[in-house]
Symmetry: C2
Amino acid sequence: MKKTHTPLTRERILAAALHLVDAQGLRRLTMRRLGDALEVEAMAIYHHFPLGKEALLDGLVEHLSAVPVTAAPETDWQERLRTWARAYRDRVAAHPGLLPLLVSRPVRTPATLAATEAQYAACHDGGLRGPAILDAVRTLTGYVIGFVSLEIRDARPANGDAAEGLDARYPHATALRSYATGRDPDDQFEAGLTAVLTGITALAAHPV
Amino acid sequence: MKKTHTPLTRERILAAALHLVDAQGLRRLTMRRLGDALEVEAMAIYHHFPLGKEALLDGLVEHLSAVPVTAAPETDWQERLRTWARAYRDRVAAHPGLLPLLVSRPVRTPATLAATEAQYAACHDGGLRGPAILDAVRTLTGYVIGFVSLEIRDARPANGDAAEGLDARYPHATALRSYATGRDPDDQFEAGLTAVLTGITALAAHPV
DNA sequence: ACCTGAACACCGTTCAAGT
DNA sequence: ACCTGAACACCGTTCAAGT
Protein backbone atom coordinates (compact mmCIF):
# COMPACT_ATOMS: atom_id res chain seq x y z
CA MET A 1 0.00 0.00 0.00
CA LYS A 2 1.09 3.56 -0.59
CA LYS A 3 2.16 5.98 2.11
CA THR A 4 -1.18 7.71 2.51
CA HIS A 5 -0.45 9.11 5.92
CA THR A 6 -3.09 11.10 7.68
CA PRO A 7 -1.80 14.66 7.56
CA LEU A 8 0.37 15.85 10.40
CA THR A 9 -1.45 18.10 12.79
CA ARG A 10 -0.89 19.76 16.14
CA GLU A 11 -3.37 17.43 17.75
CA ARG A 12 -1.81 14.29 16.30
CA ILE A 13 1.65 15.40 17.35
CA LEU A 14 0.51 16.12 20.91
CA ALA A 15 -1.28 12.77 21.14
CA ALA A 16 1.82 10.93 19.97
CA ALA A 17 4.02 12.91 22.37
CA LEU A 18 1.70 12.12 25.28
CA HIS A 19 1.72 8.47 24.34
CA LEU A 20 5.50 8.51 24.20
CA VAL A 21 5.81 10.14 27.62
CA ASP A 22 3.34 7.71 29.16
CA ALA A 23 5.12 4.72 27.71
CA GLN A 24 8.76 5.70 28.04
CA GLY A 25 9.01 8.77 30.23
CA LEU A 26 9.67 12.43 29.68
CA ARG A 27 13.39 11.98 29.13
CA ARG A 28 12.77 9.83 26.10
CA LEU A 29 10.48 12.38 24.46
CA THR A 30 12.71 13.52 21.67
CA MET A 31 11.97 15.38 18.48
CA ARG A 32 13.58 12.61 16.47
CA ARG A 33 11.82 9.82 18.33
CA LEU A 34 8.55 11.71 18.09
CA GLY A 35 9.11 12.01 14.36
CA ASP A 36 9.69 8.26 14.15
CA ALA A 37 6.45 7.58 16.01
CA LEU A 38 4.61 9.74 13.51
CA GLU A 39 6.49 8.20 10.58
CA VAL A 40 7.83 11.56 9.60
CA GLU A 41 11.14 13.36 9.73
CA ALA A 42 11.72 15.16 13.05
CA MET A 43 11.99 18.49 11.29
CA ALA A 44 8.42 18.28 10.06
CA ILE A 45 7.24 18.88 13.63
CA TYR A 46 8.68 22.38 13.53
CA HIS A 47 6.21 23.33 10.90
CA HIS A 48 3.39 22.82 13.40
CA PHE A 49 5.34 24.01 16.44
CA PRO A 50 7.51 26.80 15.06
CA LEU A 51 8.79 27.63 18.53
CA GLY A 52 10.21 24.16 18.93
CA LYS A 53 10.21 21.70 21.76
CA GLU A 54 9.39 24.19 24.51
CA ALA A 55 6.15 25.06 22.76
CA LEU A 56 5.40 21.38 22.35
CA LEU A 57 5.87 20.80 26.09
CA ASP A 58 3.60 23.75 26.83
CA GLY A 59 1.09 22.18 24.49
CA LEU A 60 1.24 18.94 26.48
CA VAL A 61 0.45 20.73 29.72
CA GLU A 62 -2.40 22.59 28.08
CA HIS A 63 -3.65 19.32 26.69
CA LEU A 64 -3.83 17.97 30.25
CA SER A 65 -6.00 20.86 31.37
CA ALA A 66 -8.00 21.08 28.18
CA VAL A 67 -11.28 19.46 29.17
CA PRO A 68 -12.77 21.50 32.00
CA VAL A 69 -14.16 19.78 35.06
CA THR A 70 -17.41 21.21 36.19
CA ALA A 71 -19.89 19.49 38.41
CA ALA A 72 -23.60 20.19 38.28
CA PRO A 73 -24.07 23.60 39.87
CA GLU A 74 -27.06 22.53 41.91
CA THR A 75 -25.12 20.09 44.08
CA ASP A 76 -23.62 20.95 47.44
CA TRP A 77 -20.71 23.37 47.19
CA GLN A 78 -18.32 21.03 49.00
CA GLU A 79 -19.34 18.16 46.79
CA ARG A 80 -18.59 20.27 43.73
CA LEU A 81 -15.08 20.95 45.01
CA ARG A 82 -14.69 17.26 45.78
CA THR A 83 -15.69 16.37 42.24
CA TRP A 84 -13.13 18.73 40.80
CA ALA A 85 -10.42 17.44 43.14
CA ARG A 86 -11.03 13.80 42.24
CA ALA A 87 -11.13 14.52 38.53
CA TYR A 88 -7.92 16.55 38.65
CA ARG A 89 -6.12 13.87 40.62
CA ASP A 90 -7.24 11.19 38.19
CA ARG A 91 -6.11 13.24 35.26
CA VAL A 92 -2.64 13.93 36.60
CA ALA A 93 -2.22 10.39 37.90
CA ALA A 94 -2.98 9.11 34.40
CA HIS A 95 0.13 10.89 33.09
CA PRO A 96 2.67 10.85 35.90
CA GLY A 97 5.49 11.64 33.51
CA LEU A 98 4.06 15.11 32.92
CA LEU A 99 4.27 16.13 36.57
CA PRO A 100 7.62 17.93 36.24
CA LEU A 101 6.11 20.00 33.45
CA LEU A 102 2.92 20.60 35.37
CA VAL A 103 4.65 22.17 38.34
CA SER A 104 6.86 24.43 36.27
CA ARG A 105 4.68 25.66 33.41
CA PRO A 106 1.73 27.94 34.13
CA VAL A 107 -1.30 27.50 31.94
CA ARG A 108 -4.13 29.93 31.37
CA THR A 109 -6.61 28.47 28.95
CA PRO A 110 -10.38 28.95 28.81
CA ALA A 111 -10.64 25.52 30.44
CA THR A 112 -8.49 26.40 33.42
CA LEU A 113 -10.15 29.79 33.81
CA ALA A 114 -13.55 28.13 33.78
CA ALA A 115 -12.46 25.59 36.37
CA THR A 116 -11.13 28.31 38.65
CA GLU A 117 -14.31 30.32 38.21
CA ALA A 118 -16.37 27.29 39.20
CA GLN A 119 -14.25 26.86 42.33
CA TYR A 120 -14.74 30.51 43.25
CA ALA A 121 -18.48 30.13 42.75
CA ALA A 122 -18.58 27.04 44.94
CA CYS A 123 -16.73 28.80 47.74
CA HIS A 124 -19.05 31.77 47.42
CA ASP A 125 -22.01 29.46 47.77
CA GLY A 126 -20.33 28.07 50.86
CA GLY A 127 -20.43 31.46 52.48
CA LEU A 128 -16.84 32.53 51.88
CA ARG A 129 -16.13 36.08 50.77
CA GLY A 130 -13.24 38.11 49.39
CA PRO A 131 -9.71 36.94 50.24
CA ALA A 132 -11.11 33.90 52.04
CA ILE A 133 -12.25 32.59 48.68
CA LEU A 134 -8.79 33.03 47.19
CA ASP A 135 -7.18 31.35 50.18
CA ALA A 136 -9.64 28.48 50.10
CA VAL A 137 -9.11 27.75 46.42
CA ARG A 138 -5.34 28.00 46.75
CA THR A 139 -5.35 25.69 49.73
CA LEU A 140 -7.49 23.10 48.01
CA THR A 141 -5.55 23.29 44.75
CA GLY A 142 -2.30 23.10 46.65
CA TYR A 143 -3.41 20.04 48.55
CA VAL A 144 -4.54 18.22 45.44
CA ILE A 145 -1.44 18.89 43.36
CA GLY A 146 0.78 18.18 46.35
CA PHE A 147 -0.95 14.92 47.17
CA VAL A 148 -0.64 13.57 43.65
CA SER A 149 2.96 14.75 43.55
CA LEU A 150 3.71 12.67 46.63
CA GLU A 151 1.89 9.72 45.14
CA ILE A 152 3.79 9.88 41.90
CA ARG A 153 7.11 10.55 43.54
CA ASP A 154 6.82 7.70 46.02
CA ALA A 155 5.75 5.30 43.30
CA ARG A 156 9.40 5.16 42.31
CA PRO A 157 11.79 3.37 44.64
CA ALA A 158 14.03 5.68 46.61
CA ASN A 159 17.74 5.38 46.03
CA GLY A 160 18.89 6.74 49.38
CA ASP A 161 21.09 4.05 50.89
CA ALA A 162 18.21 1.55 50.82
CA ALA A 163 18.33 1.61 54.61
CA GLU A 164 15.02 -0.07 55.20
CA GLY A 165 15.80 -0.81 58.81
CA LEU A 166 13.26 1.35 60.61
CA ASP A 167 15.18 1.11 63.82
CA ALA A 168 14.48 2.33 67.31
CA ARG A 169 15.27 5.89 66.36
CA TYR A 170 11.93 6.11 64.59
CA PRO A 171 9.42 4.60 67.02
CA HIS A 172 6.36 6.27 65.54
CA ALA A 173 7.26 5.34 62.00
CA THR A 174 7.80 1.76 63.15
CA ALA A 175 4.52 1.64 65.02
CA LEU A 176 2.63 3.05 62.05
CA ARG A 177 4.19 0.70 59.56
CA SER A 178 1.36 -1.83 59.60
CA TYR A 179 -1.18 0.91 58.95
CA ALA A 180 0.95 2.40 56.19
CA THR A 181 1.05 -0.76 54.09
CA GLY A 182 -2.68 -1.27 54.26
CA ARG A 183 -3.84 2.30 53.74
CA ASP A 184 -5.80 2.68 50.53
CA PRO A 185 -4.56 5.71 48.55
CA ASP A 186 -8.06 6.68 47.48
CA ASP A 187 -9.31 6.62 51.06
CA GLN A 188 -6.32 8.65 52.16
CA PHE A 189 -6.95 11.22 49.47
CA GLU A 190 -10.58 11.47 50.56
CA ALA A 191 -9.58 11.82 54.21
CA GLY A 192 -7.23 14.67 53.38
CA LEU A 193 -9.87 16.21 51.16
CA THR A 194 -12.35 16.15 54.01
CA ALA A 195 -9.77 17.70 56.30
CA VAL A 196 -9.00 20.49 53.83
CA LEU A 197 -12.66 21.23 53.17
CA THR A 198 -13.31 21.34 56.90
CA GLY A 199 -10.46 23.76 57.37
CA ILE A 200 -11.52 25.84 54.39
CA THR A 201 -15.00 26.26 55.82
CA ALA A 202 -13.48 27.63 58.98
CA LEU A 203 -11.70 30.32 56.94
CA ALA A 204 -14.97 32.24 56.84
CA ALA A 205 -15.01 32.53 60.62
CA HIS A 206 -11.40 33.63 61.03
CA PRO A 207 -10.51 36.22 58.40
CA VAL A 208 -6.85 37.25 58.35
CA MET B 1 50.04 31.66 40.15
CA LYS B 2 49.91 27.90 39.73
CA LYS B 3 46.75 25.88 39.35
CA THR B 4 46.45 24.83 42.98
CA HIS B 5 42.78 24.00 42.79
CA THR B 6 41.07 22.80 45.88
CA PRO B 7 40.48 19.12 45.21
CA LEU B 8 37.26 18.13 43.52
CA THR B 9 34.77 16.63 45.90
CA ARG B 10 31.15 15.49 45.89
CA GLU B 11 30.21 18.41 48.08
CA ARG B 12 31.95 20.99 45.88
CA ILE B 13 30.35 19.55 42.77
CA LEU B 14 26.88 19.63 44.31
CA ALA B 15 27.37 23.19 45.52
CA ALA B 16 28.45 24.31 42.06
CA ALA B 17 25.55 22.46 40.44
CA LEU B 18 23.08 24.06 42.83
CA HIS B 19 24.55 27.46 42.10
CA LEU B 20 24.27 26.82 38.39
CA VAL B 21 20.62 25.76 38.64
CA ASP B 22 19.76 28.77 40.79
CA ALA B 23 21.45 31.15 38.41
CA GLN B 24 20.57 29.70 35.02
CA GLY B 25 17.92 27.04 35.51
CA LEU B 26 17.84 23.29 35.41
CA ARG B 27 18.04 23.05 31.64
CA ARG B 28 21.42 24.73 31.64
CA LEU B 29 22.88 22.33 34.18
CA THR B 30 25.20 20.41 31.93
CA MET B 31 28.13 18.17 32.71
CA ARG B 32 30.34 20.27 30.48
CA ARG B 33 29.14 23.59 31.92
CA LEU B 34 29.46 22.20 35.43
CA GLY B 35 33.00 21.21 34.61
CA ASP B 36 33.71 24.72 33.39
CA ALA B 37 32.34 26.20 36.61
CA LEU B 38 34.68 23.95 38.59
CA GLU B 39 37.59 24.67 36.24
CA VAL B 40 37.89 21.03 35.38
CA GLU B 41 37.12 18.78 32.44
CA ALA B 42 33.54 17.51 32.47
CA MET B 43 34.70 13.93 32.62
CA ALA B 44 36.35 14.48 35.98
CA ILE B 45 32.89 14.67 37.56
CA TYR B 46 32.28 11.04 36.71
CA HIS B 47 35.00 10.02 39.11
CA HIS B 48 32.92 11.39 41.99
CA PHE B 49 29.54 10.45 40.52
CA PRO B 50 30.23 7.17 38.75
CA LEU B 51 26.56 6.75 37.93
CA GLY B 52 26.55 9.99 35.98
CA LYS B 53 24.12 12.83 35.79
CA GLU B 54 21.15 10.99 37.24
CA ALA B 55 23.08 10.36 40.43
CA LEU B 56 24.12 14.00 40.51
CA LEU B 57 20.50 15.11 40.27
CA ASP B 58 19.57 12.71 43.06
CA GLY B 59 22.38 14.25 45.07
CA LEU B 60 20.90 17.70 44.54
CA VAL B 61 17.53 16.62 45.89
CA GLU B 62 19.16 14.97 48.86
CA HIS B 63 21.15 18.12 49.43
CA LEU B 64 17.89 20.04 49.66
CA SER B 65 16.56 17.75 52.37
CA ALA B 66 19.89 17.33 54.12
CA VAL B 67 19.49 19.55 57.15
CA PRO B 68 16.55 18.29 59.19
CA VAL B 69 13.97 20.69 60.53
CA THR B 70 12.99 19.97 64.05
CA ALA B 71 11.31 22.40 66.39
CA ALA B 72 11.70 22.28 70.14
CA PRO B 73 9.66 19.27 71.29
CA GLU B 74 8.13 21.12 74.20
CA THR B 75 6.20 23.57 72.05
CA ASP B 76 2.60 23.07 70.99
CA TRP B 77 2.17 20.24 68.49
CA GLN B 78 0.49 22.44 65.90
CA GLU B 79 3.22 25.02 66.26
CA ARG B 80 5.82 22.32 65.62
CA LEU B 81 4.08 21.35 62.40
CA ARG B 82 3.84 25.02 61.44
CA THR B 83 7.56 25.45 62.01
CA TRP B 84 8.34 22.51 59.77
CA ALA B 85 5.96 23.74 57.07
CA ARG B 86 7.48 27.22 57.00
CA ALA B 87 11.02 25.90 56.91
CA TYR B 88 10.25 23.47 54.12
CA ARG B 89 8.53 26.14 52.06
CA ASP B 90 11.46 28.50 52.51
CA ARG B 91 13.90 25.84 51.50
CA VAL B 92 12.11 24.88 48.32
CA ALA B 93 11.34 28.47 47.41
CA ALA B 94 15.06 29.25 47.67
CA HIS B 95 15.74 26.83 44.81
CA PRO B 96 12.72 26.94 42.53
CA GLY B 97 14.65 25.34 39.69
CA LEU B 98 14.85 22.08 41.64
CA LEU B 99 11.08 21.66 41.91
CA PRO B 100 10.76 19.35 38.88
CA LEU B 101 13.35 17.09 40.49
CA LEU B 102 11.72 17.32 43.89
CA VAL B 103 8.37 16.02 42.69
CA SER B 104 9.82 13.13 40.73
CA ARG B 105 12.67 11.78 42.84
CA PRO B 106 11.94 10.15 46.20
CA VAL B 107 14.50 10.68 48.93
CA ARG B 108 14.96 8.64 52.07
CA THR B 109 17.82 10.03 54.08
CA PRO B 110 18.27 10.12 57.85
CA ALA B 111 17.26 13.77 57.66
CA THR B 112 13.95 13.08 55.93
CA LEU B 113 13.21 10.10 58.14
CA ALA B 114 13.86 12.23 61.21
CA ALA B 115 11.59 14.97 59.92
CA THR B 116 8.78 12.50 59.25
CA GLU B 117 9.24 10.95 62.67
CA ALA B 118 8.96 14.39 64.27
CA GLN B 119 5.73 15.00 62.36
CA TYR B 120 4.30 11.69 63.52
CA ALA B 121 5.24 12.54 67.09
CA ALA B 122 3.58 15.94 66.85
CA CYS B 123 0.36 14.42 65.55
CA HIS B 124 0.48 11.82 68.30
CA ASP B 125 0.80 14.59 70.86
CA GLY B 126 -2.19 16.22 69.22
CA GLY B 127 -4.30 13.20 70.02
CA LEU B 128 -4.24 11.49 66.61
CA ARG B 129 -3.77 7.74 66.43
CA GLY B 130 -3.03 5.10 63.82
CA PRO B 131 -4.08 5.84 60.23
CA ALA B 132 -5.24 9.32 61.23
CA ILE B 133 -1.60 10.20 61.87
CA LEU B 134 -0.58 8.98 58.43
CA ASP B 135 -3.43 10.87 56.80
CA ALA B 136 -2.65 14.04 58.72
CA VAL B 137 1.03 14.06 57.79
CA ARG B 138 0.28 13.28 54.16
CA THR B 139 -2.30 16.03 54.00
CA LEU B 140 0.00 18.60 55.53
CA THR B 141 2.97 17.58 53.41
CA GLY B 142 0.81 17.58 50.32
CA TYR B 143 -0.49 21.04 51.05
CA VAL B 144 2.97 22.47 51.61
CA ILE B 145 4.57 21.00 48.51
CA GLY B 146 1.53 21.85 46.45
CA PHE B 147 1.39 25.42 47.66
CA VAL B 148 5.03 26.09 46.86
CA SER B 149 4.57 24.38 43.52
CA LEU B 150 1.79 26.80 42.67
CA GLU B 151 3.90 29.71 43.86
CA ILE B 152 6.87 28.72 41.75
CA ARG B 153 4.78 27.83 38.73
CA ASP B 154 2.82 31.07 38.74
CA ALA B 155 5.97 33.10 39.17
CA ARG B 156 6.61 32.51 35.49
CA PRO B 157 4.36 34.28 33.02
CA ALA B 158 1.82 32.04 31.34
CA ASN B 159 2.06 31.66 27.59
CA GLY B 160 -1.55 30.76 26.97
CA ASP B 161 -2.89 33.28 24.49
CA ALA B 162 -2.13 36.15 26.88
CA ALA B 163 -5.87 36.70 27.05
CA GLU B 164 -5.86 38.95 30.08
CA GLY B 165 -9.38 40.13 29.45
CA LEU B 166 -11.23 38.72 32.45
CA ASP B 167 -14.53 39.18 30.78
CA ALA B 168 -18.07 38.68 31.98
CA ARG B 169 -17.78 34.92 31.73
CA TYR B 170 -15.73 34.95 34.90
CA PRO B 171 -17.61 37.23 37.31
CA HIS B 172 -16.10 35.83 40.48
CA ALA B 173 -12.57 36.00 39.15
CA THR B 174 -13.20 39.58 38.11
CA ALA B 175 -14.68 40.53 41.46
CA LEU B 176 -11.78 38.94 43.33
CA ARG B 177 -9.13 40.57 41.21
CA SER B 178 -8.48 43.47 43.56
CA TYR B 179 -7.98 41.08 46.46
CA ALA B 180 -5.73 38.86 44.41
CA THR B 181 -3.20 41.56 43.62
CA GLY B 182 -2.91 42.66 47.23
CA ARG B 183 -2.83 39.26 48.92
CA ASP B 184 0.48 38.65 50.65
CA PRO B 185 1.83 35.18 49.77
CA ASP B 186 3.10 34.58 53.29
CA ASP B 187 -0.28 35.44 54.78
CA GLN B 188 -1.97 33.19 52.28
CA PHE B 189 0.34 30.34 53.12
CA GLU B 190 -0.40 30.83 56.81
CA ALA B 191 -4.13 30.96 56.17
CA GLY B 192 -4.01 27.68 54.30
CA LEU B 193 -1.78 26.20 56.96
CA THR B 194 -4.31 27.12 59.60
CA ALA B 195 -7.07 25.58 57.53
CA VAL B 196 -5.15 22.35 57.04
CA LEU B 197 -4.23 22.09 60.72
CA THR B 198 -7.84 22.70 61.67
CA GLY B 199 -8.98 19.98 59.30
CA ILE B 200 -6.25 17.64 60.47
CA THR B 201 -7.35 17.99 64.07
CA ALA B 202 -10.84 16.95 63.05
CA LEU B 203 -9.43 13.72 61.60
CA ALA B 204 -9.29 12.31 65.12
CA ALA B 205 -13.04 12.68 65.49
CA HIS B 206 -13.98 11.15 62.15
CA PRO B 207 -11.90 8.03 61.51
CA VAL B 208 -12.42 6.43 58.12
C1' DA C 1 1.91 24.89 2.45
C1' DC C 2 4.17 21.01 3.99
C1' DC C 3 7.93 18.00 4.38
C1' DT C 4 13.00 16.42 3.58
C1' DG C 5 18.30 16.16 3.93
C1' DA C 6 22.30 17.85 5.26
C1' DA C 7 24.62 20.48 8.50
C1' DC C 8 25.89 22.85 13.12
C1' DA C 9 26.58 23.27 17.89
C1' DC C 10 25.84 20.87 21.74
C1' DC C 11 24.68 16.84 24.84
C1' DG C 12 25.92 12.41 28.19
C1' DT C 13 29.02 8.87 28.45
C1' DT C 14 33.05 5.38 27.31
C1' DC C 15 37.57 4.36 27.35
C1' DA C 16 42.40 4.41 26.98
C1' DA C 17 45.90 7.24 28.49
C1' DG C 18 48.42 10.30 31.41
C1' DT C 19 50.29 11.68 36.25
C1' DA D 1 43.54 7.77 42.90
C1' DC D 2 42.36 11.47 40.12
C1' DC D 3 42.02 13.87 35.95
C1' DT D 4 42.49 14.49 30.64
C1' DG D 5 41.61 13.96 25.43
C1' DA D 6 39.62 11.95 21.91
C1' DA D 7 35.79 9.56 20.35
C1' DC D 8 30.76 7.85 19.87
C1' DA D 9 25.93 8.14 19.69
C1' DC D 10 22.61 11.26 20.31
C1' DC D 11 20.31 15.86 20.99
C1' DG D 12 17.56 20.58 19.31
C1' DT D 13 17.50 23.58 15.70
C1' DT D 14 18.59 26.24 11.06
C1' DC D 15 18.33 26.45 6.42
C1' DA D 16 18.16 25.63 1.69
C1' DA D 17 15.87 22.58 -1.14
C1' DG D 18 12.23 19.72 -2.86
C1' DT D 19 7.06 18.90 -4.08
